[in-house]
């Protein structure tokens, strides 16, 4: 992961640094149920991103004063491992970690039936093992799978994907370099069945037209991610079924 700024991020044929077209996702691999000790878990590799998510609960909320009488408390902890970035990151939660924990919680909460289990808490731990841009989106994707794997009732899965502007062109699923050197980044989380956006952020600048195009592009990306999520969730059980019923 060389962080030297390359001459050009997109060559004249519209091919990006890692060989992708402007509307292509990075190669993505997801697994569910990877941890034996958590109630639910999932792991994602999206390009160079490597992220692990674990879910505990619903269980008694601690500290008790945080428990709510009418619904469950959904907590997410986004944490970057010290070795996840080039320069060692302090393992203490940074200002950025805390902010991302908050936005990820808010992106997932509309999908979870929190009102079914009052006075409890559902804890989600997201550990970034290796980061290469777009970790908040990949975290939402993987955390929603971990919640489903824990057997927590949900309105639907949440898929997330970013779009942005690099060297004057709108592109999908930005890497770290593209995010840093590009003009704009727009992460978006989306629920396919309800056609609802649960997270929309932007930094940089886009015209109104570009913004609209970028949102549509990100939603298209989310569609691909969501298909992959469904396949992954089913794969575990389909494999067993085929094995014994052949």
């Amino acid at each position: 992961m060389s962080q030297k700024k390359p001459e050009k991020l997109i060559d004249k044929d519209g091919v990006r640094l890692d060989g992708r077209g402007f509307n292509e996702l990075r190669p993505t691999k997801i697994e569910v149920g990877v941890l034996a000790n958590a109630d639910g878990s999932a792991y994602i590799e999206q390009g160079k991103n490597k992220i692990l998510a674990a879910v505990y609960g619903p269980k008694e909320a601690h500290p008790k004063h945080l428990a709510m009488p009418d619904r469950a408390l959904l907590r997410c902890r986004y944490h970057m491992a010290p070795f996840s970035v080039e320069e060692r990151k302090s393992p203490a939660p940074s200002r950025r970690d805390i902010e991302l924990s908050k936005v990820i919680t808010e992106a997932l909460e509309p999908a979870v039936f929190v009102e079914y289990y009052p006075r409890t808490s559902i804890d989600t731990f997201i550990e970034i093992l290796q980061a290469d841009g777009g970790t908040r989106c990949a975290s939402i994707t993987v955390a929603s799978l971990a919640l489903a794997d824990a057997g927590i009732p949900m309105r639907g899965l949440v898929a997330a994907c970013a779009a942005g502007k690099v060297e004057g062109r709108l592109v999908l699923d930005l890497t770290d370099v593209e995010d840093k050197e590009g003009e704009a980044d727009l992460p978006l989380a989306w629920m396919p069945n309800l056609n609802a956006i649960t997270l929309l952020q932007m930094d940089g600048s886009l015209t109104i037209d570009e913004f609209e195009q970028a949102v549509n592009m990100a939603v298209e990306g989310c569609k691909q991610v969501s298909e992959l999520q469904k396949e992954t969730l089913k794969a575990k059980y389909v494999a067993v079924k085929e094995e014994v019923e052949e």
Binding site: K59, R155, Q229, V244
Partner: protein, 239 residues
């Protein structure tokens, strides 16, 4: 009448999958929004008349009055024990229930009767979502578990371990010579004459859990148990 559906019976669905339109009623693990019915959990979809529901492949235990559960003591309170029954809320077992008379704090030695870490069989006598589930051991075959093995499975797979009209559990008890008690919360207590018998039952229960969503399971498990019994019992198989 044939109502339109989006899946075959017993297809695997994921949360948010569209199962049916307005003309159906929502059953277990489904919800309705804008006249459309979606799944809320990973599971197998079933259409029964006007009702659509999902048999979850993974879920946690939600207490229900009358259920027999197996739990672990996690805390000693003043005049009661707190029991982890694998549900979102811990169960409460009153000392007066265990002693079968009013509790006398000066004389009754609670940890002597039930201590943290002990396993108990109990029945749920009262539960609503505003209070913790209340347990009792005042019925035959309930109380502290003295010996045997404990197997934990996903609570949704308990019906599979019992089988249709108890076919699976009856077969397991016969073939392994074990007493098997199935708690509705997904905890199974196995007690046999020898550790080998118990081990065999444990392996069989794990197999049932893993292959719960497949057909012809009872026959396959019977075969497996008979084969294992005939040969050398492979204790190391259980991780």
């Amino acid at each position: 009448m044939n109502l339109p559906v989006f899946y075959e019976k017993r297809d695997i669905v994921t949360p948010g999958d569209l199962l049916a339109d307005d003309d159906y009623e929502t059953g277990e693990n489904t919800y309705k929004e804008d006249g459309k019915i979606y799944a809320t959990r990973v599971g197998l979809v079933e259409y029964e008349g006007h009702r659509v529901f999902v048999v979850a492949l993974k879920a946690f235990y939600v207490p229900s009055v009358g259920d027999m559960v197996i739990g672990k003591i996690i805390e000693l309170g003043l005049g009661s024990w707190l029991v982890d029954i694998g549900a979102p809320y811990p169960g409460v077992l009153r000392a007066s229930d265990v002693f079968n008379r009013p509790f006398r704090p000066q004389r009754d030695d609670m940890p002597h009767v039930l201590d943290v870490g002990d396993m108990v069989k109990a029945k749920i006598v009262a539960y609503d979502r505003t209070r913790a589930p209340l347990l009792t051991v005042r019925e035959p075959d309930l109380g502290k578990i003295e010996r045997g093995q404990i197997v934990e499975v996903t609570p949704t797979k308990i019906p599979r371990i019992i089988g249709r009209k108890g076919s699976m559990i009856t077969m397991l008890k016969q073939e392994t010579n074990c007493q098997i008690t199935v708690g509705q919360n997904g905890v199974v207590h196995v007690r046999g004459r020898s550790p080998e018998d118990e081990q065999l039952a444990v392996i069989a229960i794990h197999k049932i859990e893993e292959e719960a969503h497949t057909s012809g399971l009872t026959d396959r498990v019977t075969q497996m148990v008979r084969k294992e019994k005939g040969g050398v019992v492979n204790v190391s198989k259980e991780a």
